[in-house]
């Protein structure tokens, strides 16, 4: 089984240095791209690779790029931005890639930037990722020294500057347009789309925002080619993916596996199954903004469409496990508190709806729930559904809640059946 993204991550080694990285073909993909291909050819290769974004939404990367104005009449300034603001609870895949093999990301950025003829690139890094910051900064500096960055990269006519920006820290900065606002020094509020960043992004210029893992795929696609890449996946989706599991499994962690690997295989073989004394009740397949799935879904492959067919989203592909000794209502309350706190405060449903959801769940758990509360919660999940809010934060927040209400209704109702605590007045 091939693991292109993590092949340089080795036990007993701190991280892959520039020499380590080059020893396994590092920067050869870049060389091929800038010395023998036109930008549009690079775009075409990525399009044909069927690479889909690894940040959670799974949007085809090549298609995303294709909306950037190219050619002589295109704006002179364009940006390529890497979303490294990994703040989805339960998700820690980008961190491993950045800490353990920083040059892989740097090379991917240069290739992506070349593909859209970006003039500058930025890494927007989660503020708490100190080690990543340190290693990326060093890698960027080495890349300049080696002529991979700066003027006339590898003696081509292409020049690029790459900047590392560490976030001041808000979950919403992971939303690509909020990220751009934050990068500009503004409040991290998402922007209305259209216009999409490809037309008016960072400082109003055409901009691509890609996730770290997505970008890390680029050197390999360029270097090893389409056939190789298409051969990696086991299902409909192409390539490999970093899958993870957290919660009461025997071996929490992340593993690079082919796209389409069945969930059961990840949970049972790689994570070692449930800890002794715990039973699997359900799981969020890719971070807290995805719908719960049940043990009966274990044989579903980790593929964007396959997961969607079962009412959830693959998201970041890092699962959070709900065991039988954890109350799903408290689990959801914890999640909703997070989302409520992380709302940017821009649009009404999210800003004022999430705190209400929290208040209802708190009442419920404290025995102060009232008949009709579950219907109200259900109503909120529809109200804050996709399209009704300014960005995807609140719809994401509703996914675990709506699926918990569907799958774990008894647990909610149990709280309603408890004797009501005496209420003052």
């Amino acid at each position: 089984m091939q693991t292109p993204l993590t092949k340089n991550i080795k036990p007993g080694r701190d991280f892959a240095t520039l020499a380590d990285y080059r020893a396994t073909g590092g920067y050869e993909g870049l060389r091929k791209a800038v010395t023998s291909m036109e930008s549009l050819q690079v775009q075409q290769v990525v399009k044909d690779s069927e690479l889909r974004g690894r940040g959670g939404a799974g949007f085809p990367t090549g298609l995303k790029w294709s909306f950037v104005p190219m050619g002589e009449n295109a704006p002179a300034t364009k940006y390529f931005v890497v979303n490294a603001d990994e703040m989805e609870p339960g998700t820690f895949k980008d961190r491993v890639l950045m800490e353990e093999d920083p040059h892989q990301l740097v090379e991917g950025i240069i290739i992506g930037s070349y593909a859209i003829r970006a003039t500058s690139a930025y890494i927007f890094l989660r503020g708490e990722y100190h080690l990543s910051a340190e290693r990326l900064a060093a890698a960027i500096s080495e890349a300049y020294d080696q002529g991979y960055l700066g003027k006339n990269i590898l003696d081509s006519d292409y020049s690029l500057d790459l900047y590392l920006h560490t976030s001041a820290g808000r979950y919403i900065c992971g939303e690509e347009t909020a990220l751009l606002n934050s990068l500009e020094g503004k409040r991290a509020n998402p922007r209305a789309k259209p216009p999409f960043p490809q037309i008016s992004g960072l400082w109003g210029k055409p901009t691509i925002v890609n996730n770290v893992e997505t970008v890390c795929n680029l050197p390999h696609i360029l270097y090893y080619g389409l056939d190789w890449y298409h051969g990696l996946g086991r299902g409909k989706d192409k390539g490999t993916k970093l899958f993870g599991a957290s919660g009461r499994v025997k071996r929490p962690g992340i593993w690079e596996l082919p796209m389409g690997t069945p969930i059961r295989e990840i949970l049972e073989e790689h994570a070692g199954g449930m800890q002794d004394g715990y039973r699997l009740r359900g799981f969020l397949p890719g971070g807290v903004s995805t719908d719960f799935m049940l043990p009966e879904h274990l044989d579903v492959p980790m593929d964007f469409e396959a997961i969607a067919a079962h009412g959830s989203r693959m998201g970041t592909g890092t699962m959070i496990i709900l065991d039988d000794r954890t109350c799903p209502v408290e689990f959801v309350l914890n999640v909703e508190r997070f989302f409520s706190r992380e709302s940017c405060g821009w649009c009404t449903p999210c800003r004022d709806g999430l705190p209400w959801v929290v208040a209802i769940l708190e009442d419920l758990i404290q025995g102060k729930g009232r008949p009709g509360d579950l219907d109200l919660l259900h109503h909120q999940t529809r109200m804050m559904g996709p399209g009704n809010t300014f960005c995807a934060l609140a719809p994401g927040a509703m996914e675990p809640l709506q699926s918990a209400l569907k799958y774990f209704r008894d647990d909610f109702e149990k709280y309603l059946r408890r004797p009501v605590l005496a209420e003052a007045g």
């Binding site: 808000r170 409040r187 922007r191 209305a192 259209p194 216009p195 037309i199 008016s200 400082w203 109003g204 409520s340 706190r341 992380e342 709302s343 940017c344 405060g345 821009w346 649009c347 009404t348 449903p349 800003r351 004022d352 709806g353 999430l354 705190p355 209400w356 208040a359 009442d363 109200l376 109503h379 109200m383 399209g387 009704n388 809010t389 300014f390």
Partner: protein
């Protein structure tokens, strides 16, 4: 014009709009908060959701946000379907989770957009059981009260304050449902348009503090259409009265002038009407009261012999008052109250406006300019609302760029994002720093002479037929070329100038630039000093110097002054001499000022709030204002005092207006500025009181239990009553915007021909100045004088708060007025071995003026910019060179 289907009915709508705008323009009720007609859409509140269908087969549809959805041919939507209605009710319910139910004690109550929208969506039952978030309120200065708990986080305040008005010190802090709208710390709001927050805020977070001190519900205010008296732009206002006091001023929409916004001077300057400085009864010298009848007799007797009487009018008095005075004393003995140079300035303005081939633009047209040159005027301080329009004009380059990449102009955040710092060219030539410098492409600082030379040079660069300028410095040549290039490339270039420099060559230079421009869309806007300066200039009269001569020679003995503090318009020595030489001085005015103390007879006049009249604004638009309340028992309109003294036999306002229209050639149009007193709707007058006006039978119960008859108003079609025509009057008679279910000022949407456009039936007022296009080049450009060592050229520095005397009589404004200052270049301060805060003495002939030194890097070396119009500035001879030294004692 695309056709769209709304709830089954086909409507033709204006393309390029968003769906919310289109629905509102059709008169449909669709609730909204974050959208504002002047500020566009951002999609934050999600209140204006409708259901959109893909086609006739689509029964389900999907929810879309109206303000963020462009209209297009074949669009099918429903406002009424259950999903959309439920969603809108849900939004209100969410907004209400934190909103305190304090309407009974909230000053916004009764004119609250949030109340209106809550009722409109049908949210009545509270399901939220959690705690409400609470905030600390801030002290924001004398104008605005802050009550953050009421906030529904629509973001309009910060969008208005920062993005629209260019303010920096009001922002949004925090996140999620704790977002806080305020300053980083307590303090006076810095922006000169802060008062609009009161109307921009859809609920009671920002309210008018001056109104709060004398609070009354909107429905209990007696209102009338009025015109702002605090500068020359003629913004339309609605004053509100209760219990004989003026309680507030709010914006009255005019599609061509102020539209949605006023400046703080105009909104909060009304306090002088309630002031203790009001003259309440006729007085003899030494404040010895006499009866009005005795005063009338006395006035008649001192007006004999008639040829010994001269009259001095006023640029802040109505056309009616000035005309009555002119009739009383005769045109030969009518004086404007300006000096020779003041008269000359205003006649230059008139000549230019009557003969220029450029458009004389309204503020709405100014906002369309795509390149602006401001020559020698500081509109932020002399005509503030115009500066706010200039702020919008510089956005036009950004709108164009946005349109190129397919972003509609109403999508505000996206337009600003793609535009970044791209602005249409704005060049400012001034004697000191201005508040618009931050958005200017480039600034030029110089003396008025140098500013005029720059203008002449720009004109020459644009057109070789323009007179050449000699001895131009290399840097001035460069600037002139850059400015000329920017103006040349514009479709709608605009030159703004005016009387601010007190120098007519500056105005002439501006006229040359306008003439030199080739573009058909070129415009020239001239700012003049006061609310009726243009009207007074149209009447024309002699100067104060001539008045003084007439009194000195004995040709005149008695001087009759109407609504004029002469010290504001002429040097102290001239006015002192004039008053000394007069055998008898009569003053008719509403507020006490130094002339009152020197007059032999003082007659109490009605203020703008207590009378009707006509002002002519800087664009030459005659506009009528109406009394919002009755004057005090012994007061009457200035023109009525003059009529009683024999000026004419005009019975009512209409009679004198008709006399003006037929008697003065340039003023024919004034009769059409508003319908006359005989105007009726279905036989009824227009009520000044709302249908919910309360306490009518009880408000005098402490005096007498019988209800007095409502006062009769023979001078206007308005009535001091609740009764009257319930339908919409013509725009000139519409005091307050109010429509069923729309109690706030946002109801104006129901009275516009299109959203943000003209009022239905046309915006009020009549433009009096037709320009012939025959203006010739002005050739007499100045030769800037060499600076004499040890002297400074004294130029006027205007202040929005302080330079205009009436507003300074308002306590809230008075708090914002600084003492007399002299702005000097830091190098000059060093040369004088002095620093900011020190007292400096400016030594004029025979007298000296003491002012506080302030450093301004914008003031050229050798120039002293001194506060204009403030107490203490009477002795200043403007545009002269004087020595300056450190004052012996601190000011």
């Amino acid at each position: 014009m695309p056709n769209i289907e709304i709830d089954g009915a086909i409507h033709e709508v204006d393309g390029g709009q968003n769906l919310l705008q289109a629905c509102l323009a059709l008169g449909l009720d669709l609730p909204y908060f974050c959208w504002h007609p002047a500020m566009g859409s951002v999609g934050a509140c999600r209140q204006c959701v409708v259901t959109q269908y893909t086609g006739p087969e689509d029964r389900r549809g999907r929810l879309v946000v109206g303000c963020m959805t462009p209209v297009g041919e074949g669009l099918r939507i429903s406002l009424k379907n259950d999903a959309a209605k439920e969603f809108r009710a849900d939004i209100i319910e969410l907004l209400m989770t934190n909103h305190p139910h304090d309407c009974p004690v909230c000053e916004e109550g009764g004119q609250c957009h949030l109340q209106d929208m809550t009722v409109m969506t049908g949210h009545t039952v509270r399901r939220f059981r959690g705690k409400k978030r609470t905030h600390r309120n801030q002290y924001l200065g004398p104008f605005i009260n802050h009550e953050m708990n009421r906030c529904i986080a629509c973001y309009r305040c910060v969008r208005y304050y920062q993005d629209y008005a260019g303010g920096k010190d009001l922002g949004v802090f925090g996140a999620h449902h704790h977002v806080y709208f305020g300053r980083s710390e307590d303090g006076v709001l810095e922006n000169e348009f802060s008062g609009n927050l009161v109307e921009v805020c859809p609920t009671g977070v920002f309210t008018d503090k001056t109104y709060g001190k004398r609070y009354s519900r909107k429905w209990d205010l007696q209102t009338a259409p009025s015109i702002c008296v605090h500068c020359s732009l003629g913004c339309n206002t609605t004053p509100g009265e209760r219990y004989g006091e003026l309680r507030s001023i709010v914006n009255r929409y005019h599609g061509e002038i102020n539209r949605y916004f006023l400046c703080d001077r105009g909104r909060f300057g009304y306090g002088f009407v309630n002031s203790e400085r009001r003259i309440l009864q006729p007085e003899l010298r030494g404040r010895q009261a006499i009866s009005p009848d005795a005063a009338r007799e006395l006035l008649k007797s001192v007006l004999e012999p008639a040829e010994k009487v001269i009259g001095i009018g006023s640029p802040r008095a109505s056309l009616e008052a000035n005309y009555a005075l002119r009739e009383l004393v005769g045109a030969d003995r009518f004086y404007t109250g300006w000096t020779e140079s003041g008269n000359e300035l205003m006649q230059t303005v008139l000549e230019v406006l009557r003969r220029t081939d450029a458009l004389n633009p309204t503020l709405a047209q100014i906002e369309q300019a795509d390149a602006v040159l401001i020559l020698g005027e500081d509109p932020s301080n002399t005509a503030p609302r115009l500066a706010l329009s200039v702020r919008q004009a510089v956005r036009n380059a950004g709108f164009e760029l946005a349109a190129k990449v397919g972003i509609p102009h109403w999508q505000d955040d996206a337009v600003r994002e793609v535009a970044q710092d791209l602005r249409s060219p704005l060049f400012i030539a001034s004697c000191a720093s201005t508040r618009l410098d931050g958005i200017a492409t480039d600034v030029f600082r110089g003396t008025p002479d140098e500013i005029a030379c720059l203008g002449f040079a720009v004109a020459r660069n644009l057109n070789p037929k323009a007179p050449a300028v000699r001895n131009l410095s290399a840097s001035l040549k460069d600037k002139a070329r850059v400015i000329a290039d920017a103006l040349k490339n514009a479709q709608r270039p605009l030159v703004i100038s005016g009387t601010g420099c007190l120098d007519k060559t500056v105005i002439e230079a501006a006229a040359n630039v306008a003439k030199a421009l080739q573009s058909g869309g070129k415009a020239l806007s001239l700012v003049v000093p006061e609310c009726n300066s243009t009207g007074l200039a149209l009447l024309s009269g002699h100067s104060l110097e001539e008045a003084e001569k007439a009194l000195e020679s004995g040709a005149a003995e008695t001087v009759l002054i109407v609504e004029n503090d002469l010290y504001r318009h002429a040097g102290k020595s001239l006015v002192d001499r004039l008053l000394d030489r007069a055998k008898y001085v009569v003053l008719i005015d509403h507020s006490r000022h130094p002339i009152a103390g020197k007059a032999d007879l003082v007659l109490p006049a009605a203020s703008f709030a207590e009378t009707e009249g006509t002002y002519v604004n800087n664009e030459g638009r005659a506009q009528r204002f109406f009394s919002v309340m009755l004057p005090g028992a012994e007061m009457q309109d200035s023109w009525q005092w003059l009529r009683d003294a024999g000026a004419g036999n005009w019975e009512h306002a209409d009679s004198i207006i008709a006399a003006i229209a037929s008697g003065i050639p340039g003023l024919k149009g004034v009769a059409d500025a508003a319908p006359g007193a005989g105007f009726r709707i279905s036989g009824m007058k227009i009520p000044r009181q709302s249908q919910r006006y309360s306490g009518r039978t009880a408000m005098r119960a402490n005096i007498a239990v019988s209800e007095p008859k409502q006062p009769v108003d023979p001078d206007s079609p308005l009535a001091f009553s609740m009764e009257g025509a319930a339908v919409q009057p013509p725009a000139a008679l519409m005091s307050s915007a109010w429509a069923p279910a729309w109690n706030s000022n946002q109801s104006i949407i129901k009275f516009q021909a299109e959203v943000g456009g003209h009022l239905q039936g046309g915006d009020p007022g009549v433009r009096l100045l037709e320009s012939s296009g025959s203006l010739d080049w002005f050739a007499a450009f100045p030769e800037p004088a060499k600076a004499a060592k040890g002297t400074w050229l004294v130029v006027p520095q205007y202040y929005i708060f302080g330079s205009e005397p009436l507003s300074s009589g308002s306590p809230a404004i008075a708090e914002q007025v600084n003492g007399l200052c002299v702005l000097l270049n830091p190098e000059d301060l060093d040369a004088l071995q002095t620093k900011s805060g020190d007292a400096l003495e400016l030594q004029f002939d025979g007298q000296s003026t003491v002012a506080e030194a302030k450093s301004d890097i914008g003031v050229p070396i050798g120039v002293a910019a001194v506060s204009f119009g403030l107490a203490g500035s009477e002795g200043i001879d403007w545009l002269t060179r004087v020595p300056i030294r450190k004052a012996a004692a601190e000011v």
